[in-house]
């Protein structure tokens, strides 16, 4: 398993309709944790660097929306073999290819985690899926997957 690194990004909590209407920049990945909650990471941040200044610059969406820097998640991109290995520790059905890209959330190896499953097009460069979890669970998850 690749080592996890901090995923720096921006957490936005706003009304679902507001978030539905946002067109995210092409160099970002928007992970919709909930209808009113999205974690936006830029591709560079999600790829490797872990630079603390990688926060995505976004305009505030609505006066009362919450826009906060987020560094509480760690993760790593997985290639096809690594994804297959992780899938052996998942007791739920992965979303089918037709539904991807998609964020799946649930227990992986008994640890709360998330799996962003890329499309085939995104997956050509060994980025089939982004595995992420709260930093507080990282040690437990990676130990169980190793």
């Amino acid at each position: 398993m690749p080592s996890p690194y901090t995923l720096h990004g921006t957490r936005i909590v706003a009304s679902p309709t507001t978030l539905d209407a946002v067109v995210w920049p092409i160099d970002t990945t928007a992970l919709r944790f909930a209808p009113d909650d999205v974690f936006v990471i830029d591709d560079e941040s999600a790829n490797a660097t872990g630079d603390a200044n990688d926060y995505v610059n976004l305009n505030v969406i609505g006066e009362h929306a919450i826009v906060a820097p987020e560094a509480g998640f760690v993760g790593c991109w997985l290639d096809a073999d690594q994804l297959a290995h992780v899938a052996e520790h998942i007791d739920w059905t992965l979303p089918p290819l037709a539904d991807r890209p998609v964020l799946a959330q649930g227990f992986i190896a008994g640890v709360p985690a998330k799996l962003y499953l890329a499309t085939g097009e995104e997956a050509v460069t060994a980025r089939h899926a982004l595995l992420l979890t709260n930093a507080a669970y990282a040690h437990e998850l990676w130990e169980r997957l190793s």
Partner: protein, 748 residues
């Protein structure tokens, strides 16, 4: 004792005695070949449907020996005739460590169409599907893939010798064929009764059946006499328990083996484990609606639990008239074969008594006995969270323990030194585990006014307030702080153990009240370090905070270059600053604080010291000092409730219960010498001077500063006593705080 004879004939060990077997024999066949019975009687099907051949094999109980190949030296023990096989003693587990589970792996695979069973109907279904372009996975016990369950999803659970396999399937076809009916009549638990198919197998294997008599459909190519009619009674020899004859409605016959061909029953157990909306299809004999057998009048109907027809009648007479109720009340259908043998008779019984034929009962996994190791394979123990400072704590010699789903430092080797560092110098505490919610929106004030029993609208921006969280019954469910960040923006904190429930609680009420509020849970996004002690402000000053906030105020400031939300409060009784910051900067901040505080006598403190420090101040820990039904009045915390507010959760309940006699309350106690153990009973004298149980100690601490024990504890007896007896010693009731009652040090 070896697994072969001197001539090389392989042997198994049955009840401690070696018996030879033929190549290809199952264990059951080898036992029958030796003239013995794998159980203590009952009809044998040799198809895995009945409980009459289950034994302890290789130390594992409830193994179907007809499905178990005989191998040299394999040890088999019969189960006791009555009751369950004895559990083997296991060493006392170490409860402080996660349980050690059997090393059985789970493989998870995805499949398009799963066909269970590769008999005629299974092969036909698989062939049809493949011709239609489907990808087919066929699972059959004969290939080592024993299907034991289907869960909604659907997921097929397969037992293999080397692993458990979870197959996530899009569609499932159950083609498991049909089982043979067993006789239910007097004498049906004798040794020497076999089904027609079993007789065919035994004959083909060269097992001597002796004088064989068949009733019903006769076996193919098995020498036997066919007796017409239905079975009235099987006759046996009392000492050996063996069959000696059979009586039917048409006559009597003497025999060594009774062969029964009484009809079939679809093996549909697996298909009944999932709901009707699941893509599970029955095909072939498994799907057929075979005629039910006639309702029995005598005999054992359930060979697993030894339930007789008269037992069912007793259950019926007590008013259990539905199939599921009869099953549960009699245990008929709950045993080893899960209704494989008794199911048709049970339905027949209910149909006879009620006049309508009930559908088969719902089946529940597993259809076969599996070991606890197989059941728990790949089941993970709870995941405990780690603070970003976890490794820093370990490097400092911390003893970590589990609290509220987190690993937290209990102490760093010297809790008394940690205590004094807080009281006399400066200390760091890792409070990253506190719940932290950011609440924003035009209805934020209204939400918090409704949630909390204190006033919120009058909290000025930059100020904070301690709050109780009550449920509708006015019982304390959590506590924490409200920090006002803006006109409509607040940071809420909760206890470490209560954070998850508190978040759900707040979100539920936002939805219920349809308020326009956004919520972000930052519990695991933000770490927090509590800088506490009389030198805390000086330490912060060294790291760039020239003007630390005053008591119950909060600011945003960089501490050693790390952006922090600095909250001034106090749980220890000393000046305290909680530094909330991004988790990825926590180690950097911790090391900067520890480094800058060396000459100030800085030390980290663990929960052991913290629990004592807060007890000196009389601060309550929710769940430790409070009980499930603790109201603020019972906790002596009425001061945190503003009954004059228009409304808040729990107000009406408090208004009512506050008028009732207060028959229990949390008190403080002091005692000479060391503090008694938490949980100790508290005794108080009644009107006659007799000491009676009056409550218990919730938390206790031997105060280094005060030189005696202090406690919080519950008194559940009126009138409130002035002195009590704890641990055989006199303790004095004393209102906390025990230390700095004016709170000057916290505000310094």
């Amino acid at each position: 004792m070896t697994g072969t004879t001197s001539t090389g004939t392989p042997r198994i060990i049955f009840d401690g005695q070696p018996i030879p077997y033929a190549v290809g024999d199952s264990v059951a066949m080898a036992v029958l070949r030796a003239g013995q019975h794998p159980h203590h009687g009952g009809t044998l099907c040799l198809a895995g449907d009945c409980p009459s051949c289950v034994c302890e094999v290789g130390g594992i109980a409830y193994v179907r020996t007809c499905q178990t190949p005989a191998t040299p030296g394999l040890s088999i023990r019969r189960h006791p005739e009555i009751g369950a096989p004895a559990l083997r003693p296991v060493p006392q587990p170490d409860v402080t460590r996660p349980p050690v589970l059997a090393d059985i792996s789970v493989r998870r695979i995805e499949a398009d169409l799963v066909v269970i069973g590769r008999g005629d109907s299974g092969r036909a279904a698989a062939g049809d599907a493949e011709r239609a372009g489907r990808s087919v996975t066929v699972l059959d016990a004969a290939d080592g893939n024993e299907v034991v369950a289907i869960y909604s999803g659907p997921t097929v659970i397969v037992r293999r010798s080397d692993a458990m396999v979870h197959v996530h399937a899009h569609d499932i076809v159950v083609a498991t064929g049909a089982a043979e009916l067993h006789p239910v009549c007097p004498g049906n638990m004798l040794i020497g009764i076999v089904t027609a198919r079993a007789a065919e197998q035994m004959h083909a294997a060269g097992v001597d059946l002796g004088v064989a008599v068949a009733v019903g459909v006769a076996p193919v190519a098995v020498p036997c006499t066919v007796l017409d009619g239905t079975i009235v009674e099987v006759v046996g020899e009392p000492t050996s328990g063996r069959v000696t004859g059979v009586v039917t409605t048409s006559g009597t016959a003497v025999c060594d083996t009774l062969i029964v061909g009484l009809g079939l029953s679809g093996r549909d157990l697996l298909s009944r484990m999932t709901g009707p909306d699941q893509p599970v299809t029955l095909v072939g004999p498994a799907s057929e609606k075979f005629a039910l057998p006639a309702c029995p009048t005598e005999g054992i109907i359930c060979p697993c639990s030894k339930v007789a027809v008269e037992d069912l009648q007793g259950v019926w007479d007590r008013g259990f008239h539905e199939l599921e109720l009869v099953k549960r009340a009699s245990l008929c259908g709950t045993g080893t074969c899960q209704g494989g043998v008794c199911g048709p008779y049970l339905r027949s019984f209910v149909a006879d008594r009620s006049g309508s034929v009930p559908e088969p009962f719902t089946a529940r996994p597993a259809s076969r006995q599996i070991t606890l190791g197989e059941a728990s394979a790949d089941v993970y123990t709870d995941a405990f969270r780690r603070s970003p400072l976890h490794d820093e704590h370990l490097a400092l010699g911390a003893r970590l323990d589990r609290f509220g789903t987190w690993f937290r430092p209990w102490n760093y080797g010297d809790p008394i030194a940690e205590y004094w560092a807080v009281r006399e110098a400066v200390s760091l505490g890792d409070v990253s585990t506190l719940g932290k919610l950011l609440v924003s929106g035009p209805d934020a004030v209204e939400l918090l006014e409704r949630l909390y029993p204190t006033t919120v609208a009058d909290i000025r921006v930059g100020r904070s307030r301690y709050v109780l969280l009550l449920n509708e019954r006015g019982h304390l469910i959590d506590d924490g702080m409200i920090c006002r960040e803006g006109e409509n923006r607040f940071v809420l904190t909760f206890t470490s153990g209560g954070a998850a429930n508190a978040e759900m609680w707040v979100r539920d009420w936002v939805e219920t009240w349809n308020l326009n509020v956004h919520i972000l849970d930052q519990t695991m996004s933000l770490a927090a370090i509590n800088v506490t002690g009389p030198l805390a402000a000086e330490l912060l000053g060294r790291l760039g905070v020239d003007e630390p906030p005053k008591f119950l105020q909060h600011i945003h400031a960089d501490v050693a270059g790390v952006p922090c939300h600095v909250m001034r409060l106090s749980f220890t009784g000393e000046a305290s600053f909680e530094l909330h910051h991004a988790v990825d900067r926590s180690v950097e901040l911790w090391r900067a604080l520890m480094g800058a505080g060396q000459d100030l006598g800085i030390k980290p403190h663990g929960l052991q010291a913290l629990f004592g420090l807060r007890l000196e101040k009389g601060h309550v820990i929710v769940g430790m000092d409070s009980e499930m039904d603790s109201t603020p009045r019972r906790l002596n915390m009425d001061w945190a409730v503003k009954m004059g507010k228009p409304d808040f959760l729990g107000k009406s309940a408090l208004a009512r219960t506050n008028e009732l006699p207060n028959e229990r309350r949390l008190f403080g106690f002091t005692i000479e010498g060391d503090a008694p153990t938490e949980g100790s009973p508290i005794y108080a004298a009644d009107d006659n001077g007799v000491e009676r149980l009056a409550g218990h100690v919730a938390s206790s601490f031997t105060s280094p500063l005060l030189g005696h024990g202090i406690m919080l504890g519950w008194i559940k007896k009126l009138p409130w006593p002035h002195t009590v007896t704890i641990d055989g010693r006199t303790a004095t009731v004393a209102e906390p705080p025990f230390y700095d009652p004016q709170g000057r040090r916290a505000r310094a």
